[in-house]
């Protein structure tokens, strides 16, 4: 590069109007990538921290060691020694699977019913339910607890699962999705002599597969991650779910961070796996509510 070249370049920069524009666009692009990279780093770092932490002994984690260690198997061993891991996993899986199945049956039936059989009275009920959507759980938590204790259901999975089965949000979601269900299919099935329930099971269900897939993910995650209600209801050690155990471990007088990290991995793994397996449907499912 000669002095001449530089002066030409400088001259071009000062004389043409395009150059500062291009320059600023370049700067803006760079800043954008820097900002997005920072955001991505911040978003991913706690996951990295969790995985790295599970390979380090507790004092190292407490002192901020952010590199992989060799303590993974000891942490896993301590975890299995302090917690009944299979039992904890069974509790969470049972609540999540049974809860999800029942929620989908009851709430999709209702969403279908509200959309397919319209009556003025039911429309009013539906509008009322939408209003109830904004009632926070905190407002019904206390009476629900008293109800469950009078029914003798404290410390049972029934008490954890049943209040969530009829979900206004999922009913609303299925009603919105049902608008896309072709009426001709229903008419054809009626001519073939199917009754309304058979139409729902043999025609509606298979056609709405992806709606169900998305709902399964939403409801399963909500059940798997649920915390406050199980915390209130499940009181003995052997009935506790994964989230309750993670929390209890960190509440210990001398918390073992290595074990806490392992338990966090256990709590996160199922949902992260589901997310990556069904990423497209998952995002669609979340969006289903605004469509």
């Amino acid at each position: 590069m000669t002095a001449n070249d530089t002066s030409i370049a400088l001259e071009r920069e000062t004389t043409t109007a395009m150059s500062p524009h291009v320059f600023f666009r370049y700067v803006r692009r760079t800043l954008l990538y820097v900002a997005l990279s920072i955001a991505a780093f911040v978003s991913i770092f706690p996951f990295y921290w969790m995985v790295v932490g599970s390979t380090n002994p507790s004092p190292d984690i407490a002192h901020g060691k952010a590199t992989f260690g060799t303590y993974l198997f000891q942490n896993i061993a301590t975890f299995f020694a302090t917690v009944d891991v299979p039992r904890m996993f069974f509790n969470s899986a049972f609540i999540a699977l049974v809860g999800t199945t029942l929620t989908l049956i009851v709430s999709s039936l209702a969403g279908y019913g509200f959309e397919m059989f319209k009556s003025r009275f039911r429309e009013r009920i539906f509008a009322f339910l939408l209003l109830m959507l904004s009632i926070p759980f905190a407002a019904i938590m206390v009476p629900l607890f008293i109800m469950m204790s009078r029914l003798g259901l404290i410390n049972t999975f029934t008490a954890v699962i049943v209040p969530g089965i009829a979900s206004i949000f999922i009913i609303f979601y299925f009603r919105q999705a049902s608008k896309a269900f072709p009426g001709e299919l229903r008419d054809a099935a009626r001519i073939d002599g199917l009754n309304e329930l058979q139409i729902f099971i043999y025609v509606y269900l298979p056609v709405m597969r992806s709606t169900y897939a998305a709902a399964i993910i939403i409801v399963f995650m909500a059940n798997w991650n649920n915390y406050l209600w199980p915390l209130i209801i499940l009181q003995t050690e052997q009935n506790k779910t994964v989230t309750l155990i993670v929390s209890a471990l960190s509440y210990a007088y001398v918390p073992d961070y290595g074990v806490i990290m392992i338990s966090a991995v256990f709590a996160t793994l199922p949902t992260v796996l589901i997310f990556f397996l069904l990423q497209r449907r998952f995002v669609e499912g979340l969006l289903g509510s605004v469509k």
């Binding site: 997005l36 921290w49 008293i146 991650n225």
Partner: protein
């Protein structure tokens, strides 16, 4: 004949919605009515006595309640705008189809909302501990370590950081979806007319996203007013009740101290009333802007 078909259809309709309506009646409507009734009841445990407005009077003189209310409002006023702004900016940036690594950034920013609230809360607690990884990094750059868990101010900052980490990607997804439906030719026309990017954002993107922004703001408001998992697992409501929230206080009143169901129901109705008022304000603000 026609009338009979209509009646049959009517009955079938009720059969489809009946299981859900019965369950909602028992586990939602009935508890709501019950808790409203309990706000007028005093007494401990399951011994109730009619107290009229005694609980509401007690609220006004309860410094712990006022502190919990104040903390919750601080979280709401500080955190929701930060998160909504970040989510919007990320969504607009990631809506650019020419952006390199677009799906990677989108997945990365969305990933936090796959984690369970408890698991991420516990992770944040360990990251932000006195000698934890964050303070190690801060001292490495040459600053003094921050007392995240022991200072009332920084504990609040930590909760705000945590919630923002968990929910920004979730809100971003809603904006990304809404942006997909926006007609690109409007932007092209604006660009050709020489409208700068910031003006395109303020005068084109924001007005078009208004319904979604309203939706996410309402959802976030309801969520923040019910904040429990994070303060319970990161800061235990401390130090000195600096991160105690309304939901946390209800939990304490009901399950930690000698249960006072009437009073805790009263506190929970404060949340209901706040949700109502704030949702109404948010609807009014957007409607007013639309009228202009």
């Amino acid at each position: 004949m026609a009338a009979r078909i209509v009646t049959r259809e009517h009955i079938t309709g009720w059969m489809f919605v009946a299981p859900a309506l019965i369950l909602l009646g028992i586990f939602m409507i009935f508890p709501i009515a019950w808790s409203l009734w309990m706000t007028a009841q005093t007494g401990r445990g399951l011994n109730f006595a009619f107290g009229g407005f005694a609980n509401i009077q007690r609220l006004l003189g309860d410094t712990v309640f006022l502190r919990a209310l104040g903390n919750t409002m601080v979280f709401l006023v500080v955190q929701v705008p930060i998160m909504i702004t970040l989510a919007l900016l990320f969504a607009v940036a990631l809506n650019d189809t020419k952006l390199w690594g677009r799906s990677f950034f989108r997945t990365a920013i969305f990933l936090p909302c796959v984690t369970s609230l408890v698991a991420y809360a516990v992770l944040f607690k360990s990251m932000f501990s006195a000698e934890g990884v964050i303070n190690t990094a801060i001292t490495a750059i040459g600053f003094a370590p921050i007392p995240w868990l022991t200072d009332p101010f920084w504990a609040k900052v930590l909760i705000v950081l945590a919630i923002t980490w968990r929910w920004t990607g979730y809100n971003m997804i809603f904006y990304l979806a809404a942006l997909q439906n926006v007609d690109r030719s409007i932007y092209e026309a604006a660009r050709i007319d020489g409208v700068p990017p910031w003006a395109r954002f303020v005068y084109l993107t924001l007005p078009m996203l208004k319904p979604v922004i309203l939706f996410t703001t309402v959802i976030s408001t309801i969520g923040t007013l019910q904040l429990f998992d994070e303060p319970y697992n990161i800061t235990q409501g401390g130090p000195a009740d600096a991160t105690l929230t309304l939901s946390y206080y209800i939990y304490n009143l009901t399950f930690k101290f000698m249960p006072s169901f009437g009073y805790s129901s009263t506190v929970s109705w404060v949340i209901v009333v706040l949700v109502g008022i704030l949702t109404f304000i948010q609807f009014m603000v957007t409607r007013e802007r639309q009228a202009k």
